[in-house]
Amino acid sequence: MLTNIVIFFLALSIVFYVLFAGADFGAGVLEYITGRRHRQVVADAIGPVWEANHVWLVLVVVILFMGFPSIYSAMSLYLHIPLLLMLVGIIFRGTAFTFMHYDAIKDQSSRVYDAVFKISSIITPLFLGMIVGAAMLGRINPEAESFSEAFISPWLNLFSLSVGLFCLVLFTFLAAVYMIGETDEEPERKAFIRAGKQLNMAAVVVGGGVFIAAEWNGLPLLALFGESPVSLGSLVVTTLLLPVLWISLQHSWVLWSRLLAGAQVVLILFAWFWVQHPVVINMGASDPPLTVYSAAAPPATMLQLVIALIVGAAIILPFLYYLMKTFKAGQFKQG
């Protein structure tokens, strides 16, 4: 019971991180696609909520090391390298964004911030996805003999790469749809709508690629989905929402488009959770997988974690709502 409550909060934190921080990273990538510098729009849109968006990741980490310590330590040991690269992205992304905004003098330096901002917006989602892919694929192997077998091949493979790419496309898609409601300029809005549609297509294509890559790397992902009607159902619903989203985008219905895009992403995450559950890390060779139940901390710890999470949620959610209301009220009215 306690463990299930913790799992719920873990899933919730991942969903919020993807929805909010994901779109935030996506906003950086989006600039490559629309070929514009909508830095100001991005800054206005995410400035006040930027810090809060990123705390979700910290929460995921804390839940993992307190509640599922062997999962946390296995991931951080075997996926040290992609984690480090993801962190480099986080460092550059977070600082470039703030430094750009708070540099007292606007001069050539803004070009550097720009470049760093854009590149690091790619790095983080890519490696985040690769880490997720590595956990699913099952090449993490405590008995590995060589360095590359232990620390490289678990994450440097076609499947992990495809998940990384999927993550990147998904985040950028979210950003494009969010941004539609953030701009007052018609050409810019058009550009976002176009990008949103293109990225949606791209997500379908790359998503298909993930399945192919899985088969290629020996992970029977199709069969797994076949065995799980709930996951399969979620994917079908996501696909059915596609035309609805397109209509909504066509009419620039801001709120509807956001809700639909968010729903699509949540459904994809849900399908992934369900197909994996209760496994978090598939281990290679003969080792049993690490599941949320086999890795769960003792009940006394879980109880404290649950208390902290529930009390925390009771404090944070109203406060977060107040923040969003203070800074987002104008946009919602437009929609």
Binding site: V49, E51, V58, V62, S76, F151, L305
Partner: protein
């Protein structure tokens, strides 16, 4: 480079970097709140300008603190997976509460930074207070986790496994209060003196500048008060260390022989080979009193500790001397300021005083870094005192030095950029705030 050394250095660099931003995140919101309070009460524009100008700096520091903190939460596992696998469920509780504190802090900061025009003045003021209170809370939580490493509690260690885990007892371990108190004060000392020092140096250019005068006063009152309290809390911390971690105390004091009564060794260079201290000053009886509150008490020396369990004596001793020296100096400067304030003398118009405060600018942060060196290096060779050795917690991944080089390089770069950004904030002050051009007699 050896992997163990690389990992320890990476930890030291990452934490030593993060703590600077953490201190600022703890104390700055209160300095801004004082300025804003005075603005609301008196209506003097200079106070709002000050709060706004400070908040620009805080935004830059906060972002750097947030990313370096995020990195830390991964590094703990990337470098010490064995430690985290055992310790996570035991000392995770303060971190789980810290999560809430971070959220509240981040949300309130968003409201504070972007809400100048959107919120009513008192509502805005309160968001600043919330940032500060949650900053203090997150500091206390994370230091409680560190205190557990020094003073493990809340579990039984049987055959290399923790059983009977009690996270509440672990969080409220014997060391948590003294460390949390000392650290929270340290944040105010360090930030107060750094800010005061900066404005003092700027005042030296124009001693009548209204903006810098007000800034200096606020920072010096806060920093000075904290600096006067700090040695008291430090003494309390030392008494706790003497009781719980005799090896650390002996290394701090470079006490090779168990003595009764024990003399206090001031300065000097410990010679570990020959078990003696060169070039030091010794004050009879004083260590017995400082460690145990009794001039004739016995103080355990390193001779009672197996040689393989000694912490690095040289580093620990010197770091301790630096912290205490800096602490006493800042206490003196703080005392001087309050003395003149009480005698109604305007010290902040005097050149010598401005130079003195300016010279103290880095002292608080030096003391913080030195203090953490005492705590962390003095705990060696243990990662969990008496339970697990640091070397047994290390990640088996070869080539950890590359992580270390990368993180160190990144943080050096970030430090340089932050300094440069601050410089740009300062040189544009008078263009942005009219009060930064105003003088008063």
């Amino acid at each position: 480079m050896e992997d163990l050394l690389a990992a320890r250095l990476q930890m030291a660099v990452s934490l030593g970097f993060h703590i600077i931003f953490a201190c600022i995140g703890i104390a700055m919101p209160f300095l801004m709140a004082i300025a804003e309070y005075r603005w609301i009460k008196t209506g003097q524009q200079v106070y709002q300008d000050l709060a706004k100008a400070w908040s620009k700096g805080v935004a830059i520091f906060f972002a750097t603190g947030a990313v370096s903190g995020t990195v830390l939460s991964f590094e703990l596992g990337m470098l010490w997976p064995t430690f985290m696998e055992h310790a996570g469920p035991i000392f995770g509780m303060p971190f789980s509460w810290e999560g809430t504190a971070f959220f509240v802090e981040a949300i309130a900061l968003g409201l504070f930074l972007y809400g100048w025009d959107k919120l009513r003045p008192w509502v805005h003021w309160w968001t600043g207070i919330v940032v500060g209170v949650s900053g203090v809370a997150s500091g206390i939580f994370v230091v409680a986790a560190n205190a557990w490493m020094n003073s493990p509690a809340g579990f039984d260690w049987v055959n290399g496994q923790a059983i009977n885990i009690d996270p509440v007892a672990a969080m409220f371990n014997d060391a948590w209060f003294s460390q949390a108190l000392h650290m929270t004060l340290a944040a105010f000392v360090a930030t107060g003196f750094a800010v005061a020092g900066l404005h003092a140096l700027l005042l030296l250019k124009n001693r009548k500048n209204l903006f810098h005068r007000k800034a200096l006063k606020i920072a010096l009152v806060v920093g000075g008060l904290a600096a006067i309290l700090q040695p008291i809390s430090g003494d309390y911390a030392a008494k706790g260390v003497a009781e719980r971690q005799p090896a650390k105390l002996a290394a701090m004091e470079a006490l090779f022989e168990t003595s009764q009564p024990a003399s206090l060794t001031i300065g000097g260079i410990p010679d570990v080979e020959n078990r003696e201290v060169d070039y030091d000053i010794e004050i009879p009886y004083l260590l017995s009193f400082l460690a145990h509150g009794d001039f004739n008490a016995k103080v355990t020396g390193l001779d009672q500790i197996p040689r393989k369990d000694w912490p690095p004596v040289l580093i620990t001793h010197i770091a301790f001397q630096i912290m205490v020296g800096a602490g006493l100096l800042m206490m003196g400067v703080g005392g001087l300021y309050f003395y003149f304030l009480w005698r109604k003398k305007e010290t902040i118009r005097k050149r010598w005083f401005l130079w003195l405060v300016g010279a103290c600018m880095p002292l608080g942060f030096i003391a913080v870094e030195a203090g953490w060196t005492v705590t962390e290096v003095g705990r060696q060779p243990w990662i969990i005192y008496g339970i697990m050795k640091t070397k047994d917690a290390l990640s088996p991944m070869p080539g950890l030095q590359y992580s270390f080089y990368m993180i160190t390089g990144l943080y050096l770069l970030l430090s340089a950029i932050v300094v440069w950004l601050m410089y740009r904030q300062i040189i544009t002050l008078s263009g942005r705030y009219a009060s930064a051009n105003t003088t008063e007699d």
